[in-house]
Amino acid sequence: MAGMAVAPHMSFARRMMQPGWIRAAWMTVAGAAFAFGLVAGIRALYGTYVLEEDPLVTVILIAAPLAFLVGIGGFDYWGRYIIGSPTKPDDHSDHGARSWKDYFRVNTDHKVIGVQYTVTALFFMLVGGGLAEIVRAELAQPGQQVVDPNTYNGLFSVHASLMIFLVVIPIFAGLANYVLPLMIGAPDMAFPRLNALSYWLLPVAGVMMTASFLVPDGGAFNTGWTAYAPLSTNAPLGQQFFTIGVQFAGTSSIMTALNFIVTIITMRAPGMTFWRMPLLVWANFTTSLLVVIATPFVAGSQFLVLVDRTLHANFFDPSQGGDVISYQHIFWFYSHPAVYIMMLPGFGIISEVISTKARKPIFGYRLMALSLMAILVLGFTVWAHHMFVSGMWSWLRVPMMITTMLIAVPTGIKIFSWLATLWRGVLELSTPMLFALGFITMFTLGGISGIMLAAIPVDIHTSDTYFVVAHIHYVLFGGSMFTIFAGIYYWYPKMTGRMYDERLGKLHFWMTFIGFNVTFGPMHWLGLEGMPRRVADYADKFAAWNLVSSIGAFFLGMAMLVFVYNFVSSWAGGPRAPGNPWRARTLEWQVSSPPPIFNFDEIPQVVGGPYEYGVPGSVHAVLNGDREKVPVGADGEGHAAAPATNGHGNGNGNGAHRE
């Protein structure tokens, strides 16, 4: 960051124009002022009431964050390039982080961005988790104790939005940002500046959604993360903070996904054929395809709500010819694939952890990769299973039920392949492995309740009840969050250069596992018994299980404190991590922890599969000029070794990176 440091002798004007927080601050204010002037001016010209909240806030919410992104420096290079100024020579002097302050600046190093993503997502996990604790406090007893119904509706809406858009989706992008280029032997992502901008859109979305609680008139958006029209189109001002926040989070996702796709296709080290890629790379490849295809639909659905609200376009106003159910089709066309966006990268993590910790090759590697592709394709054909009782065209229900149930097939393949990988391995039950095993059992439960919900007659009874709340938490917490914790512990030594405390890690796992089941298990029964979801109050007969659930939730909250303590204290003072503490085979472990600024002194040569544990003489890749030592036929699956693709992969990799 030497080039960006603010020198003491710098003039006031230059200090203000330097990319960073000072420029971001005044530009944000200027952007807001411009938006205010624009809207107020136009309204004054029309002779309408000038200080109308909704349009003013809407335009400010669009303009101020964009100005912030310009101020912090997200567009500097492209800006100079566009106006023809000399661009800074791309010497990568701003790569890497030398102090904690570097994590608060625009940085194009994928490892810095990976940490930025992960830590930001963990921060919002604590915010979203805190909101959930208030929800459980209110639900501990029937009646109203802690918050009024309006605040309550805001709490679970913001909780869900943060957990989905600011935690699960971006934390996978963060972990993959850090390890994926290393795994494929690349020096960085394909588009480092786009990568930096993708990250900075994220805190904008998170702050916007959280800040909606400060809206004086009506508080936070309170129509659920689903924001069904016409409830959302008529909701108070807070709704705009979701509608527009989703645009920023969605843009961030799409840009990152494009980056991953291009990186994976063009920047693999020589010899890293598709069939030699670690499954995390496969998982992020399929996820990125899902994101690029599906995310525009959620952005679109919220954009339609936005124009309905501010410009009265009446897409969803039946009195003006609008169609209410079309909102749900557009929304779920993203939001069902979003479940896979929140799950497939976790599948990748679990494959890495289980293979390494069981010391065995992944059982049925190719079928594992193909099942990801099957989920990708099938994932786009099931969205209306969220709408079995919505009043949509009734004929559509049965085909959507069949496709939904068929997704159990590729998912089952993955579960059974992991189990077969465990079989006759040498299992090391450290924290990442515990979370991986916990994931397999809990996600199986979540998948099974998903099959029940797919059966239309059962869904007719359980739709929009606590059964669904239980299901999604078994999928997104017992599933996604468990894989996230597995991944964080697994790559913690690589990312921080320190070892975490194993005993605290195991304590965190067992507290999470118990707290999770006590919190969400009873919700199945509550739903079957007849408790609707999204209610601030419920009938007395549901009191007992709700109390159990709330106690579980507070216990789960304490588990997270153990995690945070371990995370922070180990980073500050844990023992130094060796390059490869797990004796893993994949490339990210063949360099130091943390890796050198440009990852590899020399682009590695991949000569075999990534998980050849127990295969005598097997080698995944050769590093640092050992090329003449490449063993002939080292590839476990018996492919011709890689030198044939050498020039191709190498040239592409460097070319894409240097642009």
Binding site: N153, F416, I460, H461, R533, R534, D540
Partner: protein, 267 residues
């Protein structure tokens, strides 16, 4: 006894034990409320069948995992062995692709049959127009002399066809004891068929988030015999019972929930 040490035998024993426990919990214990409609029976049977198959699959997954952890655990930190380098087994992979696929097709066909069964239109069906608004339900009886009410009275063993409308936002019509649910959507008319078969008082709850009063948007449902229904209907027509629509139905709609709340809040 030596067989018991065999990991494959242990997987079998664990699977049996866990299926027994989980199966008992999900199937034998009565989690669902009483069956008050003819549709509830087939739906519950479908649930039970899926739950038992699920219990077995969950037990199988857990058993393999537990057995692997017990048998193939790393014994000491110095144990640097690798596992057996098994890359796959095509026959096994075909088996665990094909069996779930067959199971799923079976589940889909069975679900489809149940769906056709519960949605079948029957002779002698009566129609009730249901209007949902923030945060009340109004029921309009169309046969004979028309009248409206905030309470839903139904005659036992009579097939009903509810036509659902919403005035403002989406609401959802659900009586857990009937097991049936359908959204009421502004701009279109949706419908749901129910044949009540058990006398009693039930609560209709809104299950689609509809705003501040969502949690208290409930209505009382009374299933009675024809004579009791006639007496009630007579009172409604002559205007002595709780009046229809607007303000009164608002009270009717919130009555059940509001009363319960007051009881709970009272110190």
């Amino acid at each position: 006894m030596r067989h018991l040490r065999n990991p494959y035998v242990q997987v079998g024993l664990w699977t049996f034990a866990i299926t027994l426990v989980v199966g008992t919990v999900v199937w034998a214990l009565p989690w669902e409320p009483e069956q008050a409609s003819t549709q509830a029976g087939p739906i519950d049977t479908l649930y039970d069948v899926l739950a038992l198959i699920s219990a077995f699959i969950f037990a199988l997954v857990c058993s393999i995992l537990i057995t692997a952890v017990i048998h193939f655990r790393k014994r000491s930190p110095d144990d640097l062995r690798d596992g057996d380098p098994l890359h796959g087994n095509t026959r096994l992979e075909i088996v665990w692709t094909a069996i779930p696929a067959i199971l799923m097709v079976g589940a889909a066909v069975y679900s489809g049959l149940v769906l056709a069964d519960i949605e079948e239109s029957k002779a002698g069906t009566r129609t009730v127009e249901v209007t949902a608004e923030q945060f009340a339900w109004t029921f309009e009886y169309a046969d004979g002399e028309q009248f409206r009410s905030g309470e839903l009275h139904l005659v036992k063993d009579t097939p009903y066809h509810f036509k659902l409308n919403a005035k403002d936002v989406i609401h959802s019509f659900w009586v857990p004891q009937f097991r049936l649910k359908k959204d009421a959507v502004p701009g279109i008319e949706t419908d749901v068929r129910v044949t009540p078969k058990r006398l009693g008082r039930y609560t209709l709850a809104c299950t689609e988030l509809c705003g501040l009063g969502h949690s208290t948007m409930r209505a009382t449902v009374i299933v009675e015999d024809q004579a009791a229904f006639n007496r009630w209907a007579q009172r409604q027509r002559s205007g002595r019972g709780p009046q229809a629509g607007g303000v009164v139905s608002q009270q009717g709609g919130q009555g059940a929930g509001a009363q319960e709340q007051q009881e709970q809040v009272a110190p």
